[in-house]
Structure formats: C-alpha cells, structure tokens
C-alpha cells in the first residue's frame, strides 16, 4: 500500500467543426486516452468544441486550471480556419510570435520562395511556448504551461504524442482486468453490485455485447493494487460459475 499518492489528471479538447457536423469520426480521443492511461494519467473529461474563438479560449482556461495536463487536437495548420494557436495565446494572455526554430524547420523543408505567409503561420506559437517535435511532417506542435497543442490529422498527432510522452509525469498507474461471459447483465447485476461494495477501491464496469448472434457481458475491473484486482477477479469468476456461466479472462468485447 502506498500512502495516498497524488492522482494526475488530464483533459482532451478536440477542436473542430468537422467532428460536430458528423462529417469526420474522431480518431484521436481513444488514442490519447490509452496513451495517458499507460502513462499513469487519468483522463477526467473530453470535450469536442467548434472552431470558435470564444469557445476555445474559455474552455482552455477552464480546463488548464482543473487538471494537470490539457491536450488539444486540431486547428494548427496554415488556413484561415486554423485558429487554435492564436486562441491559446489569448487564453494565456501572451502574444503570438514566430518561433525561430519552427521557422528554420519550415525554411529547410520548403524550396526557396515556397514558404509563403500562410505556411509561416505554422511557425507561430504563443510567446513562451516550447516546440513539440513532429517526426512525420514539418509543422511542430507546442506546449505552453500545462497545455499541449497537437494537430488533428491522426497520424501526425500520434507521431508528436509518441515523442512527448516520456516527458509526462504520471501518478500510480490504473491497471485493469477483464472477464467476459455469456450471461445477461440482469442475471449478474445483484452479485456484481455486492462485489463492487466489497471492493470500493476498485471500479467495476459492466459492458453488454451483441455481436454475430452472440451476446454476453464484459466486466472490467480497474484499480491500482494488483493484489486487490486479482482477488476481485477470482471472486468474479466464481460468481459467474455459480450462475452457470463460463468466465473468459482478457476477452474484452463491446
């Protein structure tokens, strides 16, 4: 048992009209959620907000005071609808400046004469921001305070996140075990509720699945103490068997 270690938290802000119109299916939240979980950081909330100055500034300011880390995706390209960098500068009440190293990166990438004014926008960051290296394309993300500003294109976002994640300081890691069985939630619910009461330090989730004519439920147990997790998993398997089901561990379906 550790003595009440600090819990480290994060929030993800997905910035983009295309997600709210239904045109684009977001692919960044699940990636960041898993990456943060692996780093011992708990994702408290995610928000999808429009490319709107007021919404971005107020949400960035609300979130950076509530959680340890804020990650934004989207809105840092060269076009008129890429307003995230300016909005983050406004949220921190600093100027938006051309970052010399980002400008140099772009200059080495584009042939002479092609680094136009629009492309140079990708070198602009809030004053005091640190660049986040981009191993895929040229334009970097940036960090200011506890806010990490990433692009929306999944492959590029992932490349930048992989490079920055070693710098994140996490807390105790949340471990999970999962058990699936072909019982209905309604048959399991009473025993499962009692199991949760006996293990208030764990979080037990119940997720029914219906797939290929098959149905059942996946139970996910999460917590920081592997021994408590193992004990609860054993009890869960016993109660499933007592109800006539065959538990399958690690088989996680939705």
């Amino acid at each position: 048992m550790t003595d009440n270690p600090r819990i480290i938290t994060a929030c993800v802000l997905i910035i983009g009209n295309e997600i709210l119109s239904g045109r684009t299916q977001d692919a960044n939240l699940a990636f960041l959620a898993q990456g943060l979980n692996d780093a011992g950081i708990r994702l408290r909330e995610a928000r999808v907000i429009p490319d709107d100055r007021t919404a971005i500034v107020s949400t960035v300011n609300e979130m950076r005071s509530l959680v340890d880390y804020v990650f934004t995706t989207g809105g840092i390209g060269p076009t008129h609808d890429d307003i995230t960098a300016q909005c983050v500068a406004d949220a921190f009440e600093v100027a938006l400046i051309v970052h010399p190293e980002a400008k140099r990166l772009l200059e080495t990438h584009y042939p002479p004469g092609q680094l136009n004014e629009a492309r140079l926008r990708m070198a602009m960051v809030p004053e005091g921001a640190v660049l986040l290296p981009n191993p895929i394309s040229r334009a970097p993300g940036f960090q200011i305070g506890n806010v990490f500003v990433l692009p929306g294109v999944p492959r590029i976002m992932q490349g930048i996140f992989e490079q920055l994640k070693h710098r994140l300081v996490g807390g105790e890691k949340v471990l999970s075990r999962s058990v699936s069985c072909p019982l209905s939630e309604g048959a399991l619910a009473k025993d499962l509720g009692e199991l949760q009461e006996h293990y208030p330090d764990l979080e037990i989730g119940s997720y029914p699945y219906f797939r290929r004519g098959d149905f059942g439920v996946t139970l996910v147990l999460r917590g920081t103490d592997p021994q408590r997790l193992a004990a609860a998993t054993d009890e869960l398997k016993s109660l499933i068997r007592a109800l006539g089901g065959e538990p399958q561990e690690g088989l996680s379906e939705e």
Copy 2:
C-alpha cells in the same frame, strides 16, 4: 433570404468510464451529429464524462440551460454502474420512480420470475419523464424536459434515435458542399482566406488528407443558403484551377 430564423442547438453527453480509459472507441457521437444535422439542429458541443454522480448532475444542468436539446448516451442498464437515470432525476430535482408502462414492457419480455430487482431498475425514470420506445431490445430510453436519455450500445441507441427524431423541431438546415483537390493547404491558404472573407455567411473548412501515398485537401463549405453555397463552390473551383489543381466535387476524404 429568410428573416433571421432561430438557430436550434444541441449538446451530446457521452457518459462512460470505458471511453475515458481508452478501452472503447465511441461510436455514438458521429451518428448523433449527422442525425441532428439532418434535422436542422446544430451540435454545439460534445462532452465525454465519467460515471460519476457530481459530473453527470452538474453537466446535465449546465447543458440543458445552454442549448435546446441535450442527448446523453450510456449508463441506463441494470447494473450498479448504471447511474444516469438517478443522476438526471437529481439534476431535475425529482424522484426516480418505476414507470408503469416500462414495467409492463419488461414483464411481457421476461419469463415469470425473471424480472428481478436489477432488471426492474431499467423501468425507473425521473418523475415526469416520457418513455422513448426501443425497437431493438426491451428497456426504453426517456425524455425529461429537453434532455433525451439514450443507452450506450450503438445499435440500440440508433434504434431509439430513429424513432424519436421526427419529434425534434429543427431550424434552418445547414447544407454542405465539398471539393477535393491534390494541392497543399499552404498553396491554397491565401485564396481560401479571401474566399471566406467574401462569404462571411458560410463556414469554409479545410481538411488535409494523406492516404495510400496520395495527399491533398478537402474543402467543405457549409451554410443555409443553397445559392450562396453554389456561388462560393464555383469560385472555389476556379481558384483551384488557377493554381493548377483539378477540383473534384463531393469527393470528401479525410
């Protein structure tokens, strides 16, 4: 030209630890976003929040005062972690009661003796709520005030939404046109920004794509006036051709 029609807005609340842990990729937001867009309702924001009473109650109350419609997904099954109905009742400061019609639906579904206490939880709704018929399985969703409470399992959520959507009152519908071309954003950005300035009533989004060795950009124009949309689309195609690209309409890639 219509005389300033009212804009109808919505917010989606995705309730579930499994989304925030990265275990499950949300599949409901894109469906609801498209369905609301089709109904002339503008999705202003989406939030993913945990199975946590304080978070659910405060977010439901914040959102229902800000937008015309709130849709929640998740947390209305029979197990201990299904707390959405109770939280929505708390948000509206009403009791959670057994709805007679929901109970009757469950009674006709389960064989005698199998409608246990846990399953009966699926018949519990905030006092004053209206049931939302579920064409897929037995447990209904419900509506109270401007809040629509739906399950998290995508197939069931979609079935309930399809049955309720004719009751939603939308405003002017947002139409869209999209044009793709094999140019880079940086080459297009200046002209695109000028086009946006000439059409302040439209929203012009720029989305680069990289796929199968191919790259380019999809431009999406959105607005309520089809003639303005058509005019801007024609101008956009001309400026793409002037830059040496071949515009392809309707070809929307991400």
